[in-house]
Symmetry: C2
Subunit: 219 residues, 2 copies
Amino acid sequence: MKLSESEENYIKSIYNLQEKTEKVNTNSLANFLNTSAASITDMLKKLKSKKLLEYKKYYGFRLNEAGNKEALKIIRRHRLWEYFLVAKLGMEWEKVHDIAEELEHVSSSELINKLDNYLENPKIDPHGDPIPDEKGKIAVLKQKALKDLPIKQSATVSSVSNQTPEMMEMLNHYGIGIGSQIKVLKAFEFDGSLQIKIAKKPECIISGMAAQNIFVYDN
Amino acid sequence: MKLSESEENYIKSIYNLQEKTEKVNTNSLANFLNTSAASITDMLKKLKSKKLLEYKKYYGFRLNEAGNKEALKIIRRHRLWEYFLVAKLGMEWEKVHDIAEELEHVSSSELINKLDNYLENPKIDPHGDPIPDEKGKIAVLKQKALKDLPIKQSATVSSVSNQTPEMMEMLNHYGIGIGSQIKVLKAFEFDGSLQIKIAKKPECIISGMAAQNIFVYDN
DNA sequence: ATTTATTTTTAGATTTGTCTAAATTTATTT
DNA sequence: AAATAAATTTAGACAAATCTAAAAATAAAT
């Protein structure tokens, strides 16, 4: 189904709000999208007529099967682009969201699947959110802080919670990035620092503080 | 200057037509953009009011300095994305244009400059057209067929004229891609075949026919 | 130099997505 | 349960980008 940019934004927002909060209503959506409640009503009618959501006047609304499927496609595009921007172009966390908001509307499925492939099918985006696969399936990967990763178990770096320039500088120095394969060789109890190995990089030691802010998931 | 997608498409089209043909008029532009002459007139007024082109009713129009600058920015984005799609994602020539038409409207200059950097500042896109740099400057690189490259002179693969699946398969096999560093070690006069060296690949021999369809530019 | 043909512009309508203000429905209070 | 408050929808307007059909200007032809 060919959707306009606006329609896509509404669908994606409804999906995201449904994930987080119990009930999504007109006002909360209007607030989230920074628009008026009247605009929401207009779009709800339109999406209903396109059979993407269930909607009964004054009673509320909810994405149906088809709507969910569309939402997942958009979210997949958004998160793959975010991953690309951080992992390949080296952009900073805070900046990638807005750019991905634009890139996500380019809908060629060949493009997206090739991008996915090129990025080696990442499962989690730089903010730690899961990336739906081609079929809309989301892996349920539990992330953990690097400090909680058992010794000698290899894992993939998925996100970093503290994104200060100082943190980024240090990660860069060690060659740690989103998607890096990582393994803890030894933990020093004294200060919580860890001796680690990043694939294709020399061994090194990072502080307990860093280990607390780096998140990984098991392979 | 923030431009709408439509405004960008008009500006880019005017620029492209001005490159190719002597005089651009309302009808030819309407024809090129697959729209009506009336729409062209409307947009000309708008672009004039934004001071991006000179326009006098019934007399014709032309991009001014500012308009040219905007056009070059859009073309830069378009061609960098085309390069990315072919060189990194391995997409085929014919397919990249339409996708780049969409990607080109994402206008973050940080994104584009980082992409440029990531691609190692390509000078020519997969169709053989030059890519403007950050300042809008276009390199005047004369391409030549690989068969005309002097022995032992290293060059960069810029485009391929015959894009059949068979050709693509062969290039893939040899590891020849857009941006590859290439050098001719020996030319066999008998059949025009060439012994070549692609950076980081073993030496190999390609046919005269292939050498005629692969284009390169000097480093 | 008129007439005819072509090109360009205007006038007015349409679609999409938005808005404000008023009306309606549902929820909450006393 | 009547009154008040809050949420939602409708009505009507607007800007952007487009269209068709008619009018105006320029170019070409006899």
